[in-house]
C-alpha cells in the first residue's frame, strides 16, 4: 500500500446528542451516544474492506458518513486525495458521483413507481447526461454487468414485479451507472435467500476486478466478509478493535472480541470443532460506556490493566493489528469483576 489510499479516514467521530428534555439546558456535559469514536483507516484503490461488528458497533454509521448521508462530528475523510468536507458545489457533486452506496433492503430504496430503466437512468440525468441513446446504452450496459440478462427483458419492470435478488441487482446497476470509484455496500445480501447470495457476492467481486472499484462491505456476517473482502476491520461500540487480512483475522483472531465473534458463527460442517469462547450477550449501554477497553465488561480475559486501555491498535501479526493490550498468548482468565 505504497500508493495514496483511495479512502483515508482519520480520527472519525460521530456523536448523537441524547435528548432528555429541558434539564439538558442546564448541563455542562451533554450526554452523547458515541456511535463512531475516533476511528482511522486507509483503504487502497481496488481494495474491498469488510466492516464487521454487531448492531450498534458503528459500522453502518461509518459507511453512511463516507457517502455523506450523515455529517461527521469530527475527523477527516479524503476520497482519492480530495477531502470530503470540500466546500465547492462542484466537488460535492463529484463526490456524489464517485461514491455510491447500496443498501440492505433494495425494496425500500427503489422507488416503487419507477421502472427499472427510470431507476437506473435517474442518476445519469441528475448528473447532466441528456443524450437519450447514450442513456439507454449505459442503462443496458449496467444491467448486463449486474447480471440482469437479457437487459431488455427487465427495463420496463417495476420493483414489485421482481425477486429480491433481481431488485438488489437493479440497485447495484444504479450504484455503478455513474462509474463511481467507491462503492459502499451495507449488508447487501442479508435479506436475500441463501441460494442467490453467492451471485451478488460474486457480482461485487467482479465489479472490483473489472471496474477497479474500491469497496467497503458492511456486514455482521463473517463468512461473507471472509469470502469477499481483502481486509476486515472489526468494530465494537464505535471503535475498531482489530484490523487485518480477512483470512488471517478469521483464522487467527487476536482480539478477544474477534475471537468471540468468530466462535459464534455457526458452521455447516459436522466435523468442525469450535473454539468455545463464552461471553455475556448483553452489549453495554451506549451512553454510559465502560472505562478503558469497551469490551472489558464482557471480556473473559479482562485484567485491571484493561481499564486504562485506549484502544491503540498494535500490530500483532503481519498486517494484522489489534486494540487489545495483550497478545493472544498473554490472555489470562478474567481477574476483575
Amino acid at each position: 500500500m505504497s500508493e495514496t489510499p483511495m479512502i483515508s479516514i482519520a480520527n472519525l467521530n460521530k456523536h448523537y446528542p441524547v435528548r432528555r428534555g429541558a434539564r439538558d439546558l442546564f448541563r455542562q456535559d451533554r450526554q452523547v451516544v458515541r456511535a463512531v469514536d475516533g476511528i482511522s483507516l486507509d483503504i487502497a484503490s481496488g481494495e474491498i474492506l469488510g466492516l464487521a461488528g454487531e448492531s450498534g458497533s458503528g459500522k453502518t454509521t461509518t459507511g453512511e458518513i463516507i457517502v455523506r448521508l450523515q455529517e461527521a462530528t469530527a475527523g477527516e475523510i479524503t476520497v482519492d486525495g480530495h477531502p470530503l468536507e470540500a466546500s465547492s458545489r462542484k466537488d460535492r457533486k463529484r463526490f456524489r458521483r464517485e461514491v455510491q452506496m447500496i443498501f440492505q433492503d433494495p425494496y425500500e430504496t427503489l422507488n416503487p413507481r419507477f421502472t427499472v430503466f427510470e431507476t437506473i437512468a435517474e442518476p445519469l440525468r441528475i448528473h447532466g447526461l441528456k443524450d437519450k441513446g447514450e442513456i439507454a446504452r449505459r442503462v443496458t450496459e449496467c444491467l448486463t454487468i449486474a447480471g440482469l440478462k437479457p437487459a431488455e427483458h427487465y427495463l420496463d419492470r417495476f420493483p414489485h414485479e421482481m425477486s429480491g435478488g433481481q431488485r438488489q441487482r437493479v440497485a447495484i446497476a444504479r450504484g455503478i451507472v455513474l462509474r463511481p470509484k467507491v462503492l459502499i455496500a451495507d449488508e447487501p445480501v442479508s435479506m436475500l435467500d441463501v441460494s442467490i447470495r453467492a451471485d451478488i457476492l460474486n457480482l461485487l467481486k467482479r465489479l472490483r476486478d473489472e471496474m477497479g472499484l474500491t469497496m467497503i462491505y458492511v456486514s455482521h456476517d463473517l463468512a461473507t466478509i471472509k469470502y469477499l473482502c481483502d481486509r476486515i476491520a472489526v468494530m465494537y461500540l464505535g471503535k475498531i478493535v482489530e484490523i487485518g487480512d480477512a483470512e488471517d483475522v478469521i483464522a487467527h483472531p487476536q482480539h478477544p472480541y474477534t475471537q468471540v465473534l468468530v466462535s459464534s458463527v455457526p458452521v455447516a460442517d459436522p466435523d468442525y470443532q469450535r473454539q468455545e469462547v463464552t461471553v455475556d450477550d448483553a452489549v453495554p449501554d451506549q451512553i454510559n460506556l465502560p472505562e478503558g477497553c469497551r469490551f472489558t465488561p464482557r471480556c473473559p480475559y479482562a485484567q485491571p490493566a484493561c481499564l486504562s486501555c485506549d484502544h491503540e491498535l498494535v500490530e500483532r501479526r503481519k498486517g494484522q493489528q489489534s486494540a487489545c493490550i495483550f497478545s493472544p498468548e498473554e490472555l489470562r482468565p478474567r481477574s476483575i469483576s
Binding site: R20, G21, A22, R23
Partner: protein
C-alpha cells in the same frame, strides 16, 4: 413522573396566558360594542356612555389589557356584562351540567366505540362490520338537532320512556350537588341526551379502535398469545384490545374540545342547562368577560385532559416514560 407533570403544568400556565391574551384581543377587535345588544336603543346616548365606563370599555386597549391581566392573575374573570354576576359564578352554575353530559356521552361513545371497534376488527369482513361503520358515520354526519328531535319524538313523545326536555323535572327541589345530580330524576333526564350525543361522537372511537385493532392483530405477539393456547377471548381483550386502546386514549383527550363544541346543539335540542348555549350567546352579545372566561376555562380543561391522556398513556404503555 411528578417532575414531568409539574413541568407540563408550568407550560400549561404559560400557554393559557398566551391563549387568554389572544382571546382578549379577538373579542375587542370584533365588530359591534357590547352595549349595542344590551341597551335598549331608546335610552339616551349618555346612558350608553355610562355603561361603557362602568365596564371599563372607554379605557385604551392597553389599559384594559393591564387590568385584564391583573385580574387574571388573581383568577378573577370579572363580571359578566349581561348577567351582572361574576363570570366564575355564571360558569360554575352551568359547567357541571355540561361536564356531566359530556362525560356520560363520551362514556357511551367510548364504551360502544371500544367494544364495537374491537368486535368489528375481530370479525373483519362480516356484514355487521360494514353496518357498524355505516351506522356510526350516519350519526356523525346527520344533523344533531334533527337526530335529537327524532329521538324526542320517538322515545319521549311516542313511547314516553324518557322526559323530553331539561335536566330535572319541573319544580324539582333540592340545590346541593348531590340533590341535583345524584338521583333517579336526573338520570332519567340524562339518558336520552347522552345517548344522542354519544352516538354523535361514536364514529371517532369506533373507527380508531377498529383500525388500531386491525393493526395490533397483525402483530407477532398476538400470534404468540394464540400459540400459548390462550382462549380467543383472552387474546382479544387481554392482548389485542388493551394495546389497541392506546391511540384511542390519545384521541380521547383531543376529543374533549370537539365535544364541548359539538355538544352545543345537543344542549339546545334537549334544553340542557349547560355551558354550550352560554358560549354562543356570550359571543353574540359581546359579553367579553363571560366569553373570555368560558374560552379560557375550556382551554384549561382541554390542556388538562391532554395531560391526563398522556399520563394514562404512560400508565397503559410501559414503554413510555416521562422525564
Amino acid at each position: 413522573m411528578l417532575f414531568y407533570i409539574a413541568k407540563r403544568l408550568m407550560v400549561m400556565v404559560i400557554m393559557l396566558f398566551l391563549i387568554a391574551t389572544m382571546i382578549f384581543l379577538m373579542f375587542r377587535t370584533m365588530p359591534g360594542d357590547p352595549t349595542a345588544s344590551m341597551v335598549d336603543p331608546s335610552i339616551p346616548r349618555e346612558a350608553r356612555q355610562a355603561l361603557l365606563e362602568r365596564y371599563g370599555l372607554h379605557e385604551s386597549l392597553w389599559t384594559q389589557y393591564q387590568i385584564f391581566v391583573q385580574d387574571l392573575v388573581r383568577l378573577d374573570f370579572g363580571n359578566s356584562f349581561f348577567y351582572n354576576r361574576p363570570v366564575l359564578r355564571v360558569i360554575g352554575d352551568r359547567l357541571p351540567a355540561t361536564l356531566i353530559l359530556m362525560l356520560s356521552a363520551m362514556l357511551v361513545a367510548y364504551l360502544a366505540g371500544v367494544l364495537g371497534g374491537a368486535w368489528m376488527a375481530w370479525h373483519r369482513g362480516s356484514p355487521l362490520e360494514s353496518v357498524g361503520v355505516t351506522f356510526s358515520l350516519i350519526f356523525r354526519s346527520a344533523p344533531t338537532f334533527w337526530v335529537g328531535l327524532m329521538a324526542i319524538m320517538v322515545f319521549s313523545v311516542a313511547l314516553g320512556w324518557f322526559p323530553a326536555q331539561g335536566m330535572r323535572s319541573t319544580g324539582y327541589t333540592g340545590d346541593t350537588f348531590f340533590e341535583i345530580f345524584v338521583n333517579r330524576d336526573f338520570l332519567r333526564h340524562l339518558i336520552l341526551p347522552s345517548i344522542v350525543a354519544g352516538f354523535y361522537f361514536l364514529a371517532t372511537p369506533l373507527l380508531i379502535m377498529r383500525n388500531s385493532m386491525l393493526e395490533v392483530m397483525s402483530e407477532d405477539y398476538i400470534e404468540m398469545a394464540r400459540a400459548k393456547g390462550l382462549t380467543e377471548r383472552r387474546v382479544l381483550y387481554h392482548h389485542a384490545a388493551r394495546n389497541a386502546l392506546l391511540p384511542v386514549v390519545t384521541a380521547g383527550a383531543l376529543f374533549i374540545g370537539a365535544a364541548i363544541g359539538g355538544q352545543v346543539l345537543i344542549e339546545v335540542v334537549f334544553s340542557w342547562p349547560g355551558l354550550g348555549r352560554e358560549i354562543v350567546q356570550a359571543v353574540t352579545r359581546s359579553d367579553y368577560p363571560l366569553a373570555q372566561g368560558v374560552f379560557i376555562i375550556i382551554s384549561a380543561i382541554m390542556m388538562f385532559m391532554n395531560l391526563v391522556a398522556d399520563v394514562v398513556y404512560a400508565f397503559l404503555d410501559p414503554r413510555i416514560t416521562y422525564r
